[in-house]
Symmetry: C2
Subunit: 355 residues, 2 copies
Amino acid sequence: MPGIRVTIKDLAKRMNLSVSTISRALHNNPSIGEETTREVWKLAKQLGYLPNSVASNLRRRKTNMIGVIVPRIDITFHSYVISGVEEIAYKMGYNVTIYQSKDSLEREVAITGILQTNMVAGIIACLALETQNCSHFTRFNSLKVPLVFYDRVSNDLEASKVIIDDFDAAFRVTEHLIITGCKKIAHIAGCQTTSIFASRLEGYKAALLQYNIPFDPNMVCCATDLSYEEGSRCTRKLLKLADIPDGIFCANDYTAIGAIQMIKKSNLRIPEDIAVAGFSNYPVSTIIEPSLTTIDDRAFEMGKTAARMLIRQIEDRDVNIASETVVIKTDLIVRDSTKRAVATEAPKTLVRREK
Amino acid sequence: MPGIRVTIKDLAKRMNLSVSTISRALHNNPSIGEETTREVWKLAKQLGYLPNSVASNLRRRKTNMIGVIVPRIDITFHSYVISGVEEIAYKMGYNVTIYQSKDSLEREVAITGILQTNMVAGIIACLALETQNCSHFTRFNSLKVPLVFYDRVSNDLEASKVIIDDFDAAFRVTEHLIITGCKKIAHIAGCQTTSIFASRLEGYKAALLQYNIPFDPNMVCCATDLSYEEGSRCTRKLLKLADIPDGIFCANDYTAIGAIQMIKKSNLRIPEDIAVAGFSNYPVSTIIEPSLTTIDDRAFEMGKTAARMLIRQIEDRDVNIASETVVIKTDLIVRDSTKRAVATEAPKTLVRREK
DNA sequence: ACTCAAAAAGCAAACGTTTGCGTAAATTTT
DNA sequence: AAAATTTACGCAAACGTTTGCTTTTTGAGT
C-alpha cells in the first residue's frame, strides 16, 4: 500500500489535538466534547480518512477476520454455505477469508498455519476427506480462537458443530421409497470413513429394519468421491445383479443424476421400474427428468448458522459454553423420480420390468 | 486472539539475541551467521513460533490479501472464478477475502471502503449490475492498489480486465444456429446496460447480417436477471408470436434451461422444431435433455488469469504497464439441443411444426 | 603487533492505532 | 471563595515486526 494514506496523526496535526483525542472522537467516546467530536468527524470525511484496520488489529490484538476452510469452493453445497457465512459476517462487521483444502490433509494443515499467522478471529471449517486426525486444529483451542465445523465434523475434538441429522434424513428418504412401494432398495454410499456418509448408510439400514426388509449387502455400492461418473458406474453394477433393485437411494445428488441417466440408458422407467432419490437438493435436481426426489440439506442456512455461532463465541457472549452442536432441520422433497402410482399395500403388481 | 502467542521477542530473550537478529535469521538474511540462523529456526520450531502477519503487514505497509468482489458467491460462474483465484493465490502466498455485492451499488461502495481499511494488496472484481459509475474504485488508483476486473468491466476506468469476447462468442453461436438450418433465430438478451450482454446482442445481430437474415426486433426478448424463470417467460412470449422462431440463442444457460422446458411443455421438439443454445457451459447443460449447446466461458481459467495478472501488478513486476486487457478464449460446445439433421442448404423441408 | 575490512549482531525508530493514567480547565458543591 | 467534581483532553507506552545504521567481533594481511 505505497499510496498516501490519511492517518489519525494527520488529523491530529491539522486540528492541533492529540492522536488519542482523535481516536476517541472517531469512536464517539463520551469523554470527548461533542463539538470536538463533530469537528473531527467533519475533517475526517473531508480528507477522506479511512481507519487502518491492520494497525487497529495489532493494537487490539484481534482481527475481525473469519477464516473459512472448504474442500472446494466450486461444489454447489459449499458455495451456498460460504454465501450464508458471508451474508452474516458482512452484517456483523466481519470479513471472510477463504481457503480450499482440496480434500487434502496436507493442505488443510498448511491452511491452519496460515490462519494462525493471520490472527483470524474464528474459523469455520468442513474437514477434508483425508482428515482422520484433527490435531492441527487443537492449537486454536489454546489460542482461544473459536472453531465451528460444519457438515463433515470431527468427534474427537472439542468444538462447535453445525450439522444435519444424516441418519434421520436417510431414514426418511428410505422410508419414503418403501412407502411408495419399493421392495428392493439399493444405496449408493459415500466414503465410509466420513461420518456423514456412514450415518446415511445407517439410516438406510434402520429404515429397512423397521419395515422388515432384509438388508442385502449387494445392494450397497460404495463410492469414493460421489461424482456423477461414480453414480453411473455404481448403477451399472446394480443393474447387472440377478435381482435388480426397484429403488435407489443415492448419498448425494450428483450420483443420483448419474444413476438416473444410466437407468434411462438401460431403457428402464423412472420411477415405475426404479425409483431414485438423492441427497442435497442441488439446483439440478429440478432440471433433470424426471425431477429428483431429494433431501434439502439447507446449505445456505448452515452457513448462516455457523457464522452466527462463531461470532457469538468470538464476542464472548457465551463464555460458559465450551461447545455447541446445532442440527439443522432438513426437508424431504418429493419429486417425480419417486412418484409412483400410490400403493399403500402390495404394490408388486404395479412393478413391471423390461429389458 | 487472547491466547499466549510465542513472539520474536520470546525467542530473543531465550537466546540472548536481539529481536532484529531473530527477525533476520527467520528470513535467512545472510548477515546472520549460519550457526545462529540454524539455532533460531530450531528454537522457533520447538516453541511453535508462528509469525504475526498483522504486525508484519503494518510494518511493511502492505498485506498479502487479495480482495474479491463478486455479485453472488452461489452463482456457478462466480464460484468457479473464485476457485481459480484461490488456487493461484494460495500457490503464490496470498490470501483471499470475499465479498458479495448482491448486485447492489450501495453495497459495492461499502465494500470498497472495507477493502481500503483492510489494506488489501489488490482487488479482483466483477461489477454489480446496478453499477454505472465506477468512481468508488478510483481511490485505489491513488493508493496504488492494483485492480483487475473480470467479466463485467467498466470502460471508463483505467484498470486491467479479463474478459471473454462476448461479441465473437455470440456471433459463433448464432452462426452455428444458422448453419444448422435455423431461419428465424430469437435471442433472449440480458440487461442491456451491462456491456457483456450488449455485446452478445451485437454478436447475434452481426451474424444475422452476415448471413443475410433480416433482424426482427420482435425476436429479441430482454430479460433483467437472466433467471430460469425469465427464460420460461420470454420463451412463452416468443411462442405466442404469429411466426415463432426455429432457433433461440439465450444469453446464459439458466434462461436456456427455462426455454427448453417451456418448449417441451408446448409439445415442440428440440432441436427439430426449435434449436436452443445457451451461454456459460454450466454443469447442468450436460444434464438437461436435450443436452445444451453452449459457450464455455472458462470461468475457472478466468479466475486464475485474473489472479495472476493482479499478483504480477502487486509485485511490481511490470511497473510500466498501466493496464492490461486479456481476452480468454471461449469454446462453442455443440450438444443435442442444436443437432439437427444436417442441412447445408434449404433446410426448410426439415422444419416441421406442430401445435 | 597493528591496521583494516568483512562478518555478525545490536540499537532504536517506525508502522497506525488504542488505552491507562495523568492533568488542566470548567463546573458544581459547600 | 475554597474544595470537590466533572469534563475534556494529552502523554506515552504498547501491539509484533522490519530495517537503516551503528557497534562489536573476527580474521586476514602486512
